[in-house]
């Protein structure tokens, strides 16, 4: 793990310099002071996380603290483990090792604070529900079991639909919506949850220009309200325009920090250029041997 950890921050990595960079990059009160290993003001803190599918590692030794109240792009080539990282944070895929805390507590105690926008292709849009029904699902977490969806929840769901510009589509069956509208329904569902940290899996994937603008407007409003938003993003061109922070990922965190510092050709080359042949080969070998990763 050590060699990988070392090139995690791309600029020169040496003792005090790293420390200075860290505080620069993430302007928050002295992190990790006197025993407070998981600061409650850090929306997402990932420590030493490795994730494997079928015993084949897809993420190695991820170490990351997300800055609060920022729009953060999670960028990397196909198969880099971007979705896996998000899913591992939410315990949707098992972690081989590592710790994740959300505002200083394990995820399972903070679920309500985390809003999730899955990929649009992850569900069957032929399902017999209306857009409003789907958005109201964002309220289930705060409703107990057996409690039906109430008027206040429907009101919150309507408001969320309004925020993504789909007020007039509330009663539409979801198959009758365009791809961009479906994506906005998922966004509205996360909004209805009123979380603090949002994890979005490619919300801009194959949406029309109008939807892209609508989504980015909503994201900016969320940031203005102090929310932290981590977005799996494919379009490198728009990263500097849409986001202030970026995480470059390719089976490991290649670099992270403010876009202006980290989003450099050098780092992008490290992320996208050349296959990580040795890491991948090792993963293959581990998978074949049924090694206990």
């Amino acid at each position: 793990m050590q060699p990988i950890a070392r090139d995690r921050q791309s600029p020169p990595v040496n003792g005090p310099a790293t420390g200075a960079l860290e505080t620069n990059v993430q302007p928050r009160p002295p992190a990790r002071t006197a025993g407070a290993e998981h600061p409650a003001d850090c929306p997402l803190s990932i420590h030493d996380m490795t994730v494997a599918y079928q015993r084949r590692p897809v993420l190695w030794d991820v170490e990351y603290d997300a800055p609060a109240g920022k729009l953060i792009a999670l960028v990397g080539p196909n198969g880099a483990g971007k979705s896996t990282l998000i899913k591992a944070v939410m315990d949707l895929v098992p972690k081989a090792s590592g710790r994740v805390t959300v505002f200083g507590e394990p995820y399972r105690r903070q679920r309500r604070l985390v809003g999730y926008v899955p990929q649009r292709e992850s569900v069957d849009w032929d399902f017999p529900v209306s857009a409003l029904d789907v958005v109201a699902m964002g309220r289930y977490g705060r409703l107990g079991w057996l409690r039906p969806v109430g008027r206040a929840d429907l009101e919150a769901a309507r408001e969320a639909l309004d925020r993504v510009g789909l007020k007039d589509f509330a009663s539409r069956q979801i198959r009758q919506l365009s791809g961009g509208q479906q994506q906005r329904v998922f966004l509205a569902r996360a909004l209805a949850q009123d979380a603090q940290l949002y994890l979005m899996d490619e919300p801009f994937a194959s949406v029309d220009a109008a939807t892209e603008r609508a989504i980015i407007e909503v994201l900016r409003a969320m940031r203005a309200a102090g929310k932290t938003v981590i977005v799996v993003h494919h379009d490198l061109e728009t990263v500097p325009e849409y986001f202030e922070y970026v995480v470059l990922l390719n089976m490991r965190v290649v670099a992270h920090g403010p876009v202006r510092d980290v989003f450099t050709p050098e780092n992008l080359r490290k992320t996208y250029g050349g296959r990580l042949t040795l890491l991948e080969e090792a993963a293959h070998k581990l998978a074949k041997r049924d090694a206990p990763v």
């Binding site: 899913k87 939410m90 315990d91 949707l92 399972r108 679920r111 985390v114 999730y116 899955p118 992850s122 569900v123 069957d124 399902f127 017999p128 529900v129 209306s130 029904d133 789907v134 699902m137 289930y140 977490g141 409703l143 079991w145 057996l146 409690r147 039906p148 969806v149 069956q173 198959r175 569902r189």
Partner: protein, 452 residues
């Protein structure tokens, strides 16, 4: 006795009035089962686990046979329904666990795992049944009833047992409606929200096991899957709202169960299971054709209507192209025929339609001209077509020689909103917006003999 009933009017009247005690018992038992299976079947279908129900039902056979053998050897009445159904439940649950174990611990895929579980458990069941047949009490066994269904054998305590099981299943589906809906629609989101999806999957499968077991007597283990799958599939043709789909599915199930059981009472020796399934199949076909939401009749009518509109718009545009420089000029049917690839019949029919609709009028011998109304429609249709062509050329980089065919497809589905957008996009060319000239050469102005 029901089996002895002949198809005569008095017995039909008796049946409809539920005058006969046996009939009432059967209606209670079968109706409760079929209603509940329509409810839980909806969630099963939406969770895409319908085949698991088939595995469960086939896996009940070894349980029934074992329960009979064990029961008789212990001196308990082996044939009593609660004992047999308890055995069925045990092996049904075992089959589910068997499938889950294979899928989660090996690389065998789910469909193969389902096939393995179904055949192995059912094979074991057949082997055990042959043991039952050989035993001294074979005549008393009547295990056939569980394979093919035999409502006539139902007694009142059986019916109440079935109704109790059905009530539990319905209560689960109503109580956990919200959770089951989320589980079926988006399990990953449910898990992220902290819903124990494995527990809810097991709850759903438990409900399916219960329905399967209580349905054995009514429709038999081979056909019980039908009442879990057919009613929800039929109901889906009627509504896009899960609550209504559940209600309609329950209704379809209830009607199938009661009508099917009733028919089997009227027709001597008719197997009730088969009749119940046939009734549900008829309701499915009816829904498939007439269903308000996705019924094929409406889709066919819509397609036909669109086809007509397409033909009309092509006709109007052809007329317009012929007389574009002077709208009052007359033209012949022959000129129209040369303008497009028509077949003669289609063109002749469109001429009739256009004359009847007063889009065109006769102007001398075999000459026609556009009426004022026809001209306006034709101009609008042509404008849409050309706006779309220009959009394709300027915004989609399609060669002018190819846009005509593409626009031919799209122009008919352009609605007012899209046309406004087109106008905004092409606003730079404002002068052209009146009715832009065709961006490519038209066949009618091609030198004669030129290839189209």
């Amino acid at each position: 006795m029901i089996a002895a009933a002949r198809f005569d009017w008095p017995s039909l009247v008796n049946l409809l009035a539920l005058r006969d005690y046996n009939t009432r018992v059967v209606v209670l038992g079968v109706g409760a089962f079929a209603l509940a299976s329509g409810v839980v079947g909806t969630f099963l279908m939406l969770r895409k686990r319908a085949l698991l129900a088939d595995v469960i039902s086939h896996a009940t056979l070894p349980g029934i046979a074992l329960a009979f053998l064990v029961g008789s050897s212990l001196g308990v009445a082996g044939k009593s329904l609660p004992v047999l159904l308890a055995g069925a439940t045990v092996t049904g649950v075992l089959a589910v666990l068997f499938v889950l174990a294979i899928v989660h611990t090996t690389r065998v895929k789910e469909d193969a795992a389902l096939g393995i579980a179904l055949s192995v458990f059912f094979g074991g069941g057949i082997a055990l049944s042959s043991l039952v047949q050989q035993s001294a009490t074979a005549s008393a066994a009547g295990l056939d009833a569980f394979i093919y269904g035999k409502t006539a054998a139902m007694i009142v305590s059986d019916a109440w047992l079935i109704a109790g099981g059905a009530a539990i299943v319905i209560a689960i589906c109503i109580g956990f409606f919200k959770e089951l809906r989320l589980l079926c629609f988006d399990p990953a989101y449910a898990a992220a929200q902290g819903r124990p999806i494995v527990a809810f999957d097991l709850l759903l499968m438990g409900a399916v096991v219960m329905i399967t077991v209580i349905g054995l007597q009514a429709v038999g283990l081979i056909l019980v899957i039908a009442l879990l799958v057919v009613p929800p599939a039929a109901a889906r043709f009627w509504s896009d709202d899960l609550r209504r789909v559940v209600l309609i599915s329950a209704g379809v199930g209830l009607i199938s169960g009661v009508v099917g059981a009733g028919l089997s009472a009227l027709i001597p020796k008719a197997p009730s299971g088969a009749l119940i399934v046939l009734v549900s199949g008829a309701l499915f076909v009816f829904s498939l054709i007439f269903g308000a939401k996705r019924g094929s009749l409406w889709r066919w009518l819509e397609a036909r209507q669109l086809g007509r509109r397409v033909a009309e718009q092509h006709f109007l545009r052809s007329c317009y192209e012929l007389v574009e420089d002077d709208p009052r000029r007359a033209f012949s049917e022959g000129a129209l025929a040369a303008n497009r690839v028509w077949n003669a019949e289609e063109l002749a029919r469109m001429m009739q339609v256009a004359l009847a609709g007063r889009w065109i009028e006769a102007a001398g011998s075999s000459q026609f001209r556009l009426t004022q109304a026809g001209l306006e429609s034709a101009r609008r249709v042509t404008r849409n077509h050309r706006l779309w062509e220009m959009y394709l050329i300027t915004h989609a980089d399609i060669a002018p020689s190819h846009v005509d065919r593409d626009a031919d497809l799209v122009e008919h589905v352009l609605d007012a909103e899209m046309i406004t957008k087109l106008e905004a996009l092409l606003a730079a060319d404002a002068a052209a917006l009146v009715t832009p000239p065709s961006p490519h050469r038209l066949p009618s102005v091609l030198p004669s003999g030129a290839a189209p």
